[in-house]
Amino acid sequence: MTTEAAVKANTVTTWMNEVAAAVGAESAHLTQLDAAIGDGDHGVNMERGFSAVEKALAGQNAELPPGRLLIIAGKTLVSTVGGASGPLWGAALRRAGRSLGDADSFDGAQLVAALQAAVDGVVELGAAAPGDKTMIDALVPAVDALRNGVDAGEPLEQALTAAADAADEGARATVPMQARKGRASYLGERSIGHQDPGATSSALIVRALERAVAQAG
């Protein structure tokens, strides 16, 4: 499919289910990363939140537009995760949903706008800048890569593959950073040398979107 072809509502549901599966599979690893520079709950938090999202979306009627589903997903995260990642991912998905509005499908450009809105929401709430060793360091490069691909007229899957790769790279790039936000910042220089758990789970979420869109196509 090309960026012109539209992504349907059920792609959002597939995406969220893919995320639930991915964070479930990586839960122990995420928790271990969080134990090193945080409090060892990130995997459990994400798993709890996205399995709740999976349940919540399963109950929705198939007619709901993608934007609405993302708003429901975001509210569910806020209500079930807690910690820092709950409000942050909750804000991200709600903002993305609002940006998509009530359209019953979206194209690549709309997806770029939605994900940019998500990142803006995270920054507004958490005030993190690139380099602070947070989820931002995975999400910003991902959105940029996606935008470039879409602007260049690449097929959406291809652009999403680039975005997911950029997110992975961004997550790995947090290793040498000293944290300036969240719990890890309490460690000062001791936070250097560890990969940020939130950036790592963010990369999983972008990769899940790639899979979801591929399945839809």
Partner: protein, 340 residues
Amino acid sequence: MAVVPRTMKKLLNDPSAVVRESLAGLAAAHPDLVRYDAEAQFVARADAPVQGKVALVSGGGSGHEPLHGGFVGKGMLDAACPGEVFTSPVPDQILAATKAVDGGAGVIHIVKNYTGDVMNFKLAAEDAADDGIDVESVLIDDDVAVQDSLYTAGRRGVGATVLAEKIAGAAAERGDGAQSVAAVARRVNERARSFGIALSSCIPPASGKPIFDLPEGQMEVGIGIHGEPGRRREPLGSAHEIAELLVEPVVTDRPPADGAEVLVFLNGMGGTPQLELYLLYGEVDALLRERDLVPSRRLVGSYITSLEMAGASLTLLELDDELKELWDAPVHTPALRWGE
């Protein structure tokens, strides 16, 4: 019911149900003091809402018991919202608790300064405002192990939380308005400083594994209360040396006036026996007197913990007459109890 991992030396059933089951036990043990709303997931004073009284709501991750649930009752908190172990509560719980204990005189949120706690309480306060309840939030950030700078999330809230909840609770109980209850809580936070060390890690029920391994003969210095490693590692010192290690940063960050009366809160992290904690208190008491400070109020025990972590934290609060009066006022909770 999930089977407890055979390696986890803990008293629990399904690890994912530990917080809910523990709160049910707390309520069963203290029905005269608290009730547990398992639906909305908060602990409230048995007689809440108290009409005309400013209501105090706090909360945070679990694993710090008795904080916060053990401090719910007459003269202290009206409600506590416990999250999962070491995870901030969600706004829904906080909103439900806020509504449940609102006595029409305003609600104070006492929030420890952690990114997650701050965000979730903020969202709840916004929702409460939409429902016409005005919430005043008080941020606690007394841990001098963390510099308050652009390079951190700001100082953590630790021991001063207990003191602020007790003292603000007494102010609310005597009938102060929302603004002055919030003001006295903030005064406690401004006049209090804390520092902690750990001799061992703790074991969160979810993972069943220690968060960090501490080599023999080492201690973590400048820890928080989430089992996280501290600012640095040092060779394990004697109780006398550790007392100095705790007192020095606290009195340096905010030097009390010469001859000032102070409340000395020596807190056990959970796994340190009273035998050792009182021994350490003796050392701290002596060091403070050497510095011309008068420990005129003292709290020694495990009140804000990291599960079974071994270690201790010192919180020093410079007192004034009103703070003394409010500290001495009656309190009637599962974990702190005096007066009538």
